[in-house]
């Protein structure tokens, strides 16, 4: 492993924070404490963590409806995230967006988008901006296997390719668009091959292996930052929860399949590697668990203590000054 211990432990902590955040958000949703919907990232933590850890502070990301992981990995404030999910005035979007639209423009998070694949054109534009700025900035857009089916996907990859834009198309292939397997919906059943048709380099990597994700990301980031144009990476993974935390859409995936993927938990896999390499002790693991739980608990307390927006606030921010 060519990664320093501090970075590994930091990434472990990030993955755990993402896991505990979404577990708590789902729990609060089921209790009826938060409105709207929660699209849990459980099982996919290694991807957001490994990719964002390889970025510069001023690089930009575009996220999607299953985006809490991306936001946390890029450095978002979990208190303001939780407050947004609770619909409070202190949330990132003043309660105007909720879970699916959290953004933090100050740290390069150009928002989570609720329309499948709609983030790709926007990210392509952000990459054009990065190219025009000439400061070596790059853009990463996160999306799933479902997005690869959309027209906006085809258009974005094509344009990014002909203009050689500094963008990483990070596909989290968790095998299902709601309940539709990607092998059914993607002609040819091979997502990287589809991307390669747009004349760009592609990779496919085990998205539940944090080390593999991080090392791949570093290589891809270096290439894109150098100016070789867009890069497509498929991260193979699985989501533990159903599409969202509500019982309006049943989870039709085979139970054995879900259970077998849970055994490949990215957090436990990294934990095992770190223990075996003597990089971390059991005691430190427990300490990190407690610290992370404290952070999440603090975020919930912050959200609960925050005020709701005034109803009339609904009419603000429709236009910029």
């Amino acid at each position: 492993m060519n990664i320093d211990n501090d970075s590994l432990i930091r990434m472990y902590r990030t993955m755990l924070t993402i896991r505990r955040f979404d577990e708590r958000a789902s729990k609060e949703f089921k209790k009826g404490a938060v409105p709207g919907l929660v699209h849990s990232y459980n099982g996919q933590e290694a991807i957001a963590t490994g990719v964002c850890a390889s970025l510069r502070q001023d690089d930009r990301i575009v996220s999607n409806h299953r985006g809490h992981g991306h936001l946390i990995a890029k450095g978002a404030d979990v208190r303001r995230m939780m407050a947004e999910i609770y619909g409070k005035k202190t949330g990132y979007c003043k309660g105007k967006g909720g879970s699916m639209h959290i953004a933090d423009f100050k740290i390069g998070i150009l928002g989570a988008n609720g329309i499948v694949a709609a983030g790709l054109p926007i990210a392509t534009g952000a990459a054009l901006a990065a190219h025009l700025e000439g400061k070596g900035r790059i853009v990463v857009v996160f999306f799933g296997d479902g997005a690869c089916q959309e027209g906006e996907f085809q258009e974005s990859l094509n344009l990014a390719s002909i203009w050689k834009l500094p963008i990483i198309f990070a596909c989290e292939n968790n095998m299902y668009g709601v309940n539709t397997p990607y092998t059914y919906a993607i002609a040819g059943g091979d997502i990287p091959r589809r991307a390669a048709a747009y004349d760009m380099p592609v990779k496919s990597v085990d998205g539940n292996d944090l080390i593999a994700v991080y090392e791949t990301a570093k290589e891809v980031v270096a290439s894109v930052r150098f100016g070789t144009g867009p890069y497509f990476v498929e991260f193979r993974t699985y989501r533990w929860s159903s599409h969202f935390e509500a019982n309006t859409i049943p989870d039709l995936r085979p139970v054995e399949e879900i259970e077998s993927w849970k055994k490949q938990c990215p957090i436990l896999r990294l934990q095992k590697k770190l223990l075996e390499a003597g990089i971390i002790t059991e005691k430190e693991i427990q300490e990190i668990e407690i610290q992370v739980m404290d952070v999440i608990e603090d975020a919930v307390s912050y959200a609960l203590a925050s005020p709701l927006p005034q109803p009339e606030d609904a009419l603000e921010d429709i236009y910029s000054a």
Binding site: A103, A123, A129, L132, N158, E316
Partner: protein, 317 residues
């Protein structure tokens, strides 16, 4: 002052604002020789025929510190990019709680009358009026298009400019000095006291032609050009109807749920203005049909000077 064509005035607006702001980028499926010549390929970009990413890229640019122009050529092609215009551009400022501005100008050509048939003749601006978060300009003269486009290119919001294809060659007086026209400020193109005719885009000229004929019969028609649909100058329209007591709205788009419907509503729901009406308001709009190809049919479904004259006589009773 100089006399130049509507299309020329639009081109001047872009050229001037591109000079003024080095971080402005033009995205279009067609090459823009004048912009490319002065500002280079980096700022005047030719896109593939991909409307969604064309508009989406404009949004991404705008959210990253640039000012973007997305030229969709015709309004009909805009439907391919509806998600980016309606779900993204219109809502992005709001749903992110005002964290960023998104200065975008989307240009689309509208209008029937040249046998381009159903898919290339549409005037869909009322659909976009129904989506909060967009601003809409509807210039009818060379003076208006230059001033409104320059204002749009200094506005920090998504603005859609609907520009009529048949007005391209229409000459008009344009100042030499820099000027902008504020949004939400209607223009009284002709003052009058007997009947108010609010007209949109090319219909302004049909309305003015009708007004000229009515003058000969001793009827004084006031022609109002809203110039911008969002924001819409309600005050000027209401004030005029309160004065004349009679309202006609001329809109080339299909009648149902048209911008004309909105203009009638804003008059009738205002108690003060409603009280001054001497007859029911009348819309003179495109008929509710797709635009046909063959000229006699195409002209049948479109509003024109004759139909406006008939409406004026009707509201005068």
């Amino acid at each position: 002052m100089r006399k130049i064509a509507y299309a020329q005035a639009a081109a001047e607006a872009l050229q001037e604002e591109f000079r003024r702001n080095a971080k402005t980028v033009y995205l279009a499926t067609d090459a823009q020789p004048d912009l490319k010549k002065e500002f280079g390929e980096e700022r005047a970009r030719v896109t593939p025929i991909s409307e969604s990413v064309l508009v989406g890229s404009a949004i991404g640019l705008a959210g990253s510190g640039y000012r973007a122009v997305a030229d969709l050529r015709m309004a009909t092609f805009g439907f391919v990019a509806m998600d980016q215009m309606v779900n993204q551009a219109a809502k992005i400022t709001y749903m992110f709680g005002g964290q960023s501005t998104f200065p975008i100008l989307i240009r689309m050509a509208i209008g029937a009358g040249t046998s381009l048939a159903a898919q290339h003749s549409i005037c869909p601006y009322s659909m976009y009026m129904n989506v909060p978060g967009l601003k809409i300009i509807l210039p009818s003269t060379a003076y208006d298009i230059k001033g409104l486009l320059k204002a749009a290119l200094r506005d920090n919001n998504p603005v859609i400019s609907f520009e009529h294809t048949l007005l391209g060659g229409l000459p008009g007086e344009v100042p030499d000095e820099d000027y902008t026209i504020p949004f939400g400020r209607a223009d009284i193109k002709k003052e009058g006291i007997d009947v108010t005719v609010v007209a949109l885009s090319r219909m302004v000229h049909e309305a003015l032609a009708a007004a000229e004929e009515m003058e000969k019969e001793g009827i004084s028609v006031e022609v109002i050009d809203p110039r911008t649909l969002v924001p819409l100058d309600k005050e000027t329209i209401r004030k005029s109807v309160a004065k004349t007591g009679r309202l006609i709205v001329v809109d080339e788009a299909c009648q149902t749920c048209s911008a004309a419907s909105e203009i009638v509503s804003l008059v009738t729901e205002d108690a003060k203005t409603f009280g001054k009406l001497k007859s029911p308001p009348k819309r003179v709009c495109g008929l509710d049909a797709p635009i046909p190809y063959s000229p006699p049919m195409e002209h049948f479904v479109m509003p024109d000077k004759q139909k406006i004259l008939a409406a004026i006589k009707q509201v005068l009773g």
